[in-house]
């Protein structure tokens, strides 16, 4: 059996990447509408479940401690602090493509875009709850001087497919003597 001529080899090597790209493109064009329909049906429900989960964890932690461990006061309000150290928590949180679409339509009319506000505040509540949990897990009694940063994972003009914000909460954990 003769070896295939060199021209065929070179051609196949040149064409192969484009062939793979075309296959991915076809798969994507079929799969994306299906995933979008899934998101339309279930993303609102998922967001509500996420908010409920965060709220129930927050309530149970508050009940077990008897107070909210986070304060934004610098230096705290007590003088019997024996130990301290920095503690932080972050979460990357994004709206679904269905929520993005609702937001875009809402943006035409103007006014408050409630769906984005809901998504971002859900992410922020989750980050603050993780800060509480991190602080409790590290053995701190309270967290003072809490700061919350929000930064965009997909800045304007970056051509990013991922639309999300990062919420980052940090503070100083303190232990009372």
């Amino acid at each position: 059996m003769a070896d295939p001529p060199i021209v065929v080899l070179v051609l196949s090597v040149c064409i192969l990447p484009f062939l793979l790209l075309a296959i991915f493109g076809i798969l994507w064009s079929v799969a994306y509408p299906a995933m979008l329909i899934y998101a339309v049906l279930f993303s609102g429900q998922k967001l509500n479940e996420q908010i409920e989960d965060t709220t129930s964890r927050e309530v149970s932690l508050r009940e077990s401690l008897g107070r909210d461990p986070l304060t934004t006061v610098d230096g705290g309000y007590r003088t019997d602090i024996t130990d301290c150290g920095v503690v932080w928590a972050g979460v990357v949180f994004g709206p679904s493509h269905w929520h993005l679409l609702i937001g875009k339509i809402n943006n035409l009319i103007g006014g408050s875009i409630d769906i984005f506000q809901k998504v971002v505040s859900a992410g922020r509540a989750e980050a603050m709850q993780r800060l509480r949990e991190n602080a409790v897990a590290s053995g701190w009694d309270d967290v003072i001087n809490v700061r919350i940063d929000t930064s965009d994972m997909a800045p304007q003009g970056s051509q990013s497919k991922v639309k999300a914000v990062e919420v980052f909460a940090y503070g100083t954990g303190v232990k009372y003597g």
């Binding site: 994306y32 979008l36 899934y38 996420q50 940063d149 997909a154 991922v162």
Partner: protein, 128 residues
């Protein structure tokens, strides 16, 4: 994208920084350290890092983004890189002979899609 150049050396030294941090330099984001007296300030120290996940993670997180909600791998990425940034800040403070860093602030910026710069800065002090 660290697809072709795994930054092994940097992550190893980052782990080393974290060990030093555990050995005990005090990092707080308050202006004073409760129960301690600041005797000397040694200037601003900072540490930063730019990191990205690989292409595969970017694709899976892009798919997850259609459904919305938390992007777990990006959360992990930012967690790791923030530890590295803090480690570098701590190493700079230790080289100046500080015993604590006060008033630490964090800043985040996205350089391109999927690559984030994490920046931590604070004031190195000697405290007793």
């Amino acid at each position: 994208m660290q697809l072709f150049r795994p930054n092994l050396e940097a992550s190893l030294t980052g782990a080393g920084y974290m060990e030093q941090m555990v050995q005990g330099i005090l990092v707080v984001n308050t202006e004073t350290i409760p129960g301690m007296m600041i005797t000397e300030t040694l200037g601003v120290v900072s540490g930063s890092t730019v990191r990205a996940k690989n292409l595969g993670r970017d694709i899976t997180q892009g798919l997850r983004n259609i459904m919305g909600g938390e992007l777990v791998k990006y959360t992990e990425l930012l967690e790791e890189s923030r530890q590295e940034a803090i480690g570098r800040m701590v190493a700079e403070a230790m080289s100046r002979g500080a015993t604590a860093i006060v008033n630490v602030r964090f800043a985040t910026s996205a350089v391109t899609a999927g690559a984030a710069e994490l920046f931590a800065y604070g004031t190195a002090v000697k405290a007793e």
